[in-house]
């Protein structure tokens, strides 16, 4: 490495110097992986949640420039953002839909970790902080749609305040402390919570929540951002009706992540029990799950009771979420009749879902185990996945075509903005993001295949972008994973090659295997390995959620 410095330009030298300096900070404790090929996003849903959080931070900071948290101006200022501020519509819609996406992805992330048993093996703290982060995320989204101060916001604030009041011990005091005395205070305080208290708490908890190994998949991140924008273009969020205390509000329901709670509230049973105790019970159950779960295995198939509890919670959440949305469309009936959910009916269904979910879990575990046994009985097929092989010149043609398409989309977005078609331009920008994701994937795929026909005896050279450490320091020392290829992973080997034929570096394979065996605490992930032979199998494990005990620790991805 030292020898190569001579023919690098000064910028590269400077960047390396900065990188070496950052090496002294806590950030290098995190190991970022930029996957060299497609990896299932299930393994890094947490990272996607964080990216959405960053998107929300940026768009939210921009909205702060125009939003006025005042009783009589809040709704008008949001209307101003939406209708007159250039690109205000875009920013607001991205902010809104990214908030929904963040809650959704966080939920998926939680359930994926739950069913794959990843909260075990000293990950309890990460799990518990994760549950708290999830609750705060929902509160953050909730305070966000409250400060628009539409009729729906008023309804939501009203419910939140009366729920706080209904807490037996210190409830009224908490309401006074957190909500202040009246609408003027509500708007201002919810704003303060939304833009400062909750985000800062979230950031602090995220520091504790981050595992050491993080996957940052550029195409997937761009695709998620694009999906948020496309949703914003297709389903632009309206302003609602400005809240006027003297006029009766129409029927409103909360955001989808709170309609489950709303269904219980609509059963007219005691506010504290339905609105505070039930959701609290769910949160508490999730939080203590790693301490209840005493199964020695990780797979959902080997933990039937835990899986059944998880399936039950999903079933109950889905049913109540739909029920909370549903309002009898028959306007001949009185509003009360349409809104109230019969508590006996509701709770009977909730109880019935328990045996149904347990039975369902029993069935799918049985089916999965049968399928597993059948797969074992049959002769093993070659592990190679079907891949689309495109000739090299066609890849370049596709690349140029995509670039031309990007230019076309840019022009289209520009003209859409000019002619005032805001949601169409947002939609097109979303498509641009998706096309970029495709281009990036094509780029890395091509890069991987271009370096494929390597001679088998070629000695491995450290990647050029690696940390400037002396090249001789590459011992197979136990407990020290090869961290030199942290940032820029070497071009990965072709997918089709099997482990037996691909042996470009026996030494390195042996090294990484030695590391894998010796360092259970700090397992090397894909990019920390100099070559792809062992991780190749590992990443496919992550992709298809098949989890065996030995692979478990090394597949702990953000």
């Amino acid at each position: 490495m030292v020898a190569t410095v001579s023919h690098e330009n000064s910028l590269v030298v400077f960047i390396k110097w900065v990188y070496a300096g950052i090496d002294r900070t806590i950030f290098m404790g995190l190991k970022f992986t930029f996957p060299g090929r497609f990896v299932s996003p299930l393994g890094f849903l947490g990272m996607i949640t964080f990216v959405l959080f960053i998107i929300l931070g940026i768009t939210g900071a921009l909205l702060m420039l125009w939003y006025e948290p005042e009783l009589d101006r809040a709704w008008n200022s949001v209307q101003n953002i939406n209708n007159t501020i250039p690109f205000g519509f875009h920013i607001r819609n991205i902010h809104y839909h990214a908030s929904n996406a963040m809650v959704m992805v966080a939920l998926l992330h939680m359930y994926y970790q739950y069913f794959s048993g990843r909260y075990k093996i000293r990950n309890e703290i990460i799990w518990v902080t994760g549950v708290i982060i999830g609750v705060l995320t929902i509160l953050e989204a909730f305070t966000g749609y409250d400060i628009i101060f539409s009729e729906r916001s008023e309804l939501a604030i009203s419910i939140a305040a009366s729920l706080t009041n209904s807490i037996p011990v210190l409830g009224p005091q908490m309401r006074d402390a957190f909500f202040g005395g009246g609408f003027h205070d509500f708007v201002l305080r919810f704003y303060a919570f939304h833009v400062f208290f909750l985000p800062i708490a979230l950031l602090g908890l995220m520091v504790v929540h981050f595992p050491r190994f993080l996957v940052f998949d550029v195409p997937m991140v761009m695709a998620v951002a694009g999906a948020v924008m496309i949703t914003g273009g297709v389903f632009p969020i309206d302003l609602g009706t400005k809240f006027v205390p003297t006029s009766p509000p129409g029927i409103t329901v909360p955001e989808w992540y709170l309609t489950g709670l709303y269904a219980f509230l609509r059963s007219q049973y005691d506010k504290f029990v339905t609105g505070v105790a039930w959701p609290g019970l769910l949160i508490l159950t999730l939080m203590i799950m790693p301490f209840i779960d005493r199964y020695k295995k990780f797979s959902w198939k080997d933990r039937p009771l835990v899986t059944a509890v998880g399936i039950t919670s999903i079933a109950q959440i889905m049913v109540t979420t739909y029920w909370g949305f549903y309002i009898d469309p028959n306007i001949q009936k009185s509003l009360l009749e349409r809104l109230v959910i019969d508590p006996i009916f509701l709770y009977t269904v909730m109880l019935l879902l328990v045996p149904l979910s347990f039975g369902f879990t029993y069935m799918i575990i049985k089916l999965a185990k049968n399928a597993e046994a059948r797969a074992k009985a049959q002769p093993k097929k070659p592990a190679g996945k079907s891949s689309i092989n495109i000739p090299e010149n066609w890849i370049y043609i596709i690349f140029v075509a995509l670039l031309a398409f990007q230019i076309y989309l840019n022009i289209a977005a520009y003209y859409a903005v000019l002619s005032g078609m805001k949601n169409f331009s947002l939609f097109i920008v979303g498509i641009i993001m998706l096309v970029f994701a495709g281009m990036f994937h094509l780029y890395r795929h091509t890069k991987a295949t271009a370096s494929a026909p390597r001679p088998p005896t070629k000695p491995i050279t450290p990647p050029t972008g690696a940390k400037p450490i002396p090249s001789w320091s590459r011992p197979p020392s136990p407990g020290l994973p090869p961290g030199s290829a942290k940032i820029l992973s070497p071009p990965p080997s072709p997918k089709g090659q099997s482990i037996a034929t691909q042996s470009p570096s026996r030494v390195d394979t042996a090294t990484s295997q030695a590391n894998l065996a010796s360092s259970k605490d700090t397992p090397p992930t894909e990019a920390t390995m100099p070559d792809k032979t062992v991780p190749e199998a590992k990443m496919s494990d992550i992709a298809k959620t098949a989890d065996t005990d030995t692979d478990k620790e090394s597949s702990m991805l953000g």
């Binding site: 009783l71 305040a161 309401r175 005395g181 609408f183 205390p245 009360l336």
Partner: protein
Amino acid sequence: MAQQGPPGSGRKVSRRDFLKLMAAAGTIVTFIPFIDWGKFLPNPAANVSAKAKVELPDGSQANIKTFPVNHSESVIYPKTNDQVLNQESFRLWQFIRLPPELGGGRNDVSAFRMYSQVCLHLWCLWKYWPDPGRKRGECPCHGSMYDPINGKAFAGPASLQSPPSNVLPMLDLQVDGSGNVWILPPNWSPNGNGIVGFGRFLRE
């Protein structure tokens, strides 16, 4: 710590434990004053220590000699000099002189009631309807109905809520020698005058 001296030495505290005790006590004493700082959070503007006029929308003070029986007005309380704050529905109160059959004809304070106008169900603004056959508070949003005599919801969704969320907050009134009506300093708690938007425990 495990060895507290010989078994027979009774309650003797070792020097090390004494030091720890002192350190803990010092820490607690140092941070005690900050508990009171929690008063930073609630809004003190609601605490009115003096009695206030019942100021009718036309600017005059309500008077027992002029205020009609079976009639109501919206009154802002506590009133501020800030137009924005005065718009707030949490400061809106329904000042009612009861119908004759409920004692509205009497010439003392018992003829009047003053309830928060914020419906206990979902914070719409209800009002008193003096029409014959109604003579009750009605919320236009979801049809909660309030008894003007004690502010208890007797029909609609608010009546189904558990106490204290089924009785409207109420202000205590006073009539002076010249017949002017005053509002006495309130006690904002469920057991006192109630909490706006939440309710009040009914005292029997």
